[in-house]
């Protein structure tokens, strides 16, 4: 977390929490105290199992939460706009599509089913870039080309596209506004390995051209392929934030949950973490992972603070020390 970004962060999230008010006065703590920075040209992968709060965090950044959500903390875009306090008017007119591009989870559902890809690209171009008249056609072809969407498929409807092409159409739409921040929410769900790699490699290329990318995924292989840093989320909290090379390679993850998640991969131990994550409506007072943790003891009854990139009571001096070694950018 102490990583010093060369430039001012594109996105600076500090103490972001989201709670849903439920019937009977109950609360669901979907995101608690998320804090991270994201710089231009950098990809941060937010990983964790389904239901851990990753997508809620993405929705909070876009102001797309339902009415019963209570958001606190700050998420500052480019040093000037706090996405948490900005009103719907500001978000709709200046942020979504223009300053944050969303690459959605299921492109087939994100695209309008009754209109062709060309029509959707042209509409977005008119809306976001002000292109008019005869210039719209070439601009749409260029927009498609940026996401490697084939020009001879532009007149197809979403249901006529394969999963990979629908993903590229959605990516093309997300890139039109030249937003400095790209938010990709599970962009590879349901795609096979080859398409996963092609999709994330394309996202990485857009990052290398100077965008910041927040990649939300449960696919550790995809995250390992393109991320500069990894944030591991468990039960609504970021429990580890680490340099990707150190996380996937040596010395490896430091939080017991992150280690368990990585060891569950078929190319590693292929052993599940025992038990299941706690309900977000019924979180324990202390560490939410304690019930499944091989190292749990009485200290875990207290919520561990997030220090040196990890939230765990059990890190030895050596492990703390690792975090303090300079991480390469």
């Amino acid at each position: 977390m102490k990583k010093t970004s060369p430039a001012r962060p594109v996105l600076s999230v500090a103490g972001l929490s989201v709670r849903f008010r439920m019937r009977g006065g109950r609360h669901v703590a979907a995101v608690t105290d998320a804090t991270f920075d994201l710089a231009a040209g950098e990809c941060l992968a937010l990983v964790g199992e389904s239901g851990c709060g990753k997508s809620v965090l993405a929705s909070a950044l876009l102001g797309l939460l339902p009415a019963n959500a209570e958001t606190s903390g700050a998420a500052v875009l480019d040093g000037d706009t706090d996405l948490v306090t900005a009103g719907e008017r500001v978000l709709a007119r200046t942020v979504r599509g223009r300053r944050i591009g969303l690459v959605p989870q299921s492109p087939a559902a994100h695209l309008t089913p009754v209109r062709t890809v060309r029509a959707q690209l042209e509409e977005t171009l008119r809306e976001l870039t002000g292109v008019r008249g005869p210039a719209v056609g070439p601009a749409a072809r260029a927009a498609a080309g940026r996401a490697a969407f084939p020009a001879d498929h532009l007149d197809r409807y979403p249901h006529e596209l394969s999963g990979g092409l629908a993903q590229r159409a959605a990516t093309a739409l997300a890139l039109i506004g030249d937003a400095p921040l790209l938010l990709a929410d599970e962009p590879t769900t349901g795609l096979d390995r080859e398409l996963v790699e092609r999709t994330v490699d394309e996202l990485r290329r857009h990052t290398d051209r100077g965008r910041a990318l927040l990649l939300i995924t449960h696919d550790l292989a995809a995250a390992g392929r393109i991320a500069d840093r990894v944030a591991v989320m468990y039960a609504g909290r970021i429990v580890e934030l680490a340099d990707a090379e150190r996380f996937f390679g040596r010395p490896g993850p430091r939080h017991p949950y992150a280690r368990g998640l990585l060891e569950a991969l078929p190319e590693r131990e292929f052993a599940p973490i025992p038990g299941m994550p706690p309900e977000l409506a019924d979180l324990p007072a202390g560490c939410a992972f304690a019930a499944r943790c091989p190292r749990a003891d009485e200290r875990c009854g207290l919520q561990p603070s997030f220090e040196n990139g990890v939230a765990c009571h059990h890190l030895t001096g050596v492990e703390i020390h690792r975090a303090e070694e300079p991480a390469d950018a």
Partner: protein, 230 residues
Amino acid sequence: MLELNRVTAGYDRRDPVVRDVSLAVAPGESVGLLGPSGCGKSTLARVAALLHRPDAGSVVLAGAPVKGWRYRAPQEQRTAVGVVFQQPRLSADPRLSLRELIAQPLRSTGRRHEVAVRVAELAREVGLTGELLDRRPHAVSDGQLQRACLARALVLRPGLLICDEMTAMLDASTTAALVSVVEAYRAESGAALLAVGHDRVLLERWCDRTVRWEELDGTREPAEAVGARG
């Protein structure tokens, strides 16, 4: 346990998705079928699960030729195969609690007296606790629902289990957990497994042997990876 002989199947007779494919799974054996999205492997899995009638070719299940598919399949053949699909939300009745979901095959085959014991046993094996069992699909996560769908597939103690991209939506830990449930059941029952998927690393780790779709489908060039269907 399962023999697919020169099966041709699809949704348009003039343009079948599966052409002249043969594949056998021996009793107790686990076979991984690897292929890209849209290659037809799920259609073949549906043929093997007696859910899709092939246009040509034959299927032999536990030594007996299959004569009818879907509702035309005799009960003893239908219940000999357990199936788990990729998307638990699409394969679970939203009105049923997880407990009822797991019990459904027992009820439909007139074995309701086994429900209490068998559901409790399976719920423990797949890691679903008491309170979760009373929830309906909308109130549980994909991983929890897939655990229930796996329990449902095992409830009649099938001799053949077909897992079509069972873990494609799931995180690494839940994937490993579900695979270990399947393997524990197979070790105890001697059931055979056909696991269909696109994750080579996973299937090679999981199965006795893996077969690539291109090896089965000798009649044409390997199709380009098209289609979101798993």
